[in-house]
Symmetry: C2
Subunit: 365 residues, 2 copies
Amino acid sequence: MLIKAEFEQRLSELRKRMLSEDRQALLVFSLDNLRYLTNYSGEAAYGIVTLEKVFLITDYRFMEQAKEECFDCHLKCRDRDQQSLGQAIRQVLDAQGITRLLFEAAHINTQVWAGIVQELNGIIYTASAGLAEDLRKTKDEWEIAQIRKAAAIADQALQDSLPLIKPGISERAFALELEYRMQQLGSEGLSFPSIVGFGPRSALPHCIPSSRALAEGNLIVIDFGAVINGYRSDMTRSFVAGKANAQQRNIFDTVQRAQQAALDSLHAGQIATAVSAAASNVLQASEFASHTSTGLGHGVGIQLHEQPFISPVCHDTLQTNYVITIEPGIYIPGYGGVRIEDDVVVLADGYSFISHAPKLFELEI
Amino acid sequence: MLIKAEFEQRLSELRKRMLSEDRQALLVFSLDNLRYLTNYSGEAAYGIVTLEKVFLITDYRFMEQAKEECFDCHLKCRDRDQQSLGQAIRQVLDAQGITRLLFEAAHINTQVWAGIVQELNGIIYTASAGLAEDLRKTKDEWEIAQIRKAAAIADQALQDSLPLIKPGISERAFALELEYRMQQLGSEGLSFPSIVGFGPRSALPHCIPSSRALAEGNLIVIDFGAVINGYRSDMTRSFVAGKANAQQRNIFDTVQRAQQAALDSLHAGQIATAVSAAASNVLQASEFASHTSTGLGHGVGIQLHEQPFISPVCHDTLQTNYVITIEPGIYIPGYGGVRIEDDVVVLADGYSFISHAPKLFELEI
């Protein structure tokens, strides 16, 4: 169970960073960050984290939910017809004696922000460079447990759905059956709209499921995930409908070797670019060098794509309990593609798999 | 089928408004507005509508989709490692001789906008007050046809799912079955996460389906919708599991009379506040006056909630071919609630129903 101590730990880390930037409060505009810092999972809410307290401003529609969910928050119910958001924020700032402020610039639109700024006379405010996002990279035990539960549901739903892979089924019909099973198994909606591509469409990295029907010998890419307590999983498996030909087998083996090379390079202290290079070296040495993608993976948690990003341009040092995806792929336009993606926890001396579905490749049809 | 003439009509209307504000171009940051103006339904794209041309800036991931979907757009494929978004925008502006610009302030975060502004030296830019949103209020025939298709799927899925309403089924299990059926019938995902509330939970206007099991005599609120070609439907039906008692019948009849009063007041030229008052008068004259909500309805289309809003504070004049919801409700905390919601098209002399599911109330269980 999620406990108060975990939120106190998160807030304590955040406050250290606020202090190091000489600021007394952070305006939280991202609902994902608000959930991380307060446990509130509703909408239409804004947070103010000071060095001593946490305030959450919402309206009558979400007060009951806020009361139920929030850990140690001071709740402010704003009457939107009587008080602007800027006025409500200013009221809290004045009552707490706040004059030096950080705000989440990446999570507020310029129109709403312009309205708030009108109420900030005399207050020093600075755009925050992803303070909460930075904390969220390291998952605590409870968070890892949620992602593991989501991934276990995805594993099971895939196993239950694979018998439906028969010539004639459409990408869309298969996606729907897979999604239905995940939710029957307890997933809160979908981690993201599933990607299902058959034949040449498996070469589209973001293939939206269509009415395309499966034919024997088609390559198949399935990329999907479940959600538990707001935490997401993200996994891709690739198959061939029936027996693989030599080319398909070669593509699959190359992608699998690239993924293993990246996994073998993982440990706390490793640089993201080095993990990316480990996979890239395998792909670039293969005959498919011109058909690969640049991004190798990303953090996953409350958001599907969060920090750190595993790519040739991201120089983050991976730490213990980062949860990331490793997802190399080969995409040959007009022919087909293969991607293999797993979620893993970074450990001091290696990694631990979160996703466990077997990598079968050839499916009996 | 969607035809080029419809997009030309939309762009022509938009350009009239740009001219009336003495601006040569609009920066489009809302993906919904971009879809409305270009037919592009992907992500990670930005539009520039000038008085003569339309430019769409995206990257390699979405170029194929943009080529397939866009009507008469000049596509710019940006290498995100080489060129900032601001630089890409500036390049188009300079090539087109644009010096006076509108931008969609409500659809760009302050961090990204600050980056763009760095590249706008010498350009006059003004926040746009919802130009495209204003156009989107009036639906053309193709748009109305899509919402009708989505609503027909929702009608059918509800009819197919009602036999599952038996004591013991959970809110979540029913919601999943309903959603599965809508998608089997062709809905592109969900219009929004379904609201299903049983018993006292039917009094929560935004009830997230839970493990609560249905019991005989419970009030039931079901609020859901389908999506076709990006256009959404939105309908609520309320039931009682078995025979209604006098109080439940009274609540249901009151809500139904309130909805009918609002519908009877509808015609092009009517003010939104008058429609709101028509329903409110019925509710306020009833014994449930203290258990109603303030908003009566909203526009529906590419977004679930779009302009115009039907409420005591929205003074929009309704026009022919606005598509709106009319959804009065009574919510008694701890007891239960009833909401009835339909989508209608505003006509010169009245309205036309888009949703058609019967308003049964008592369900055999």
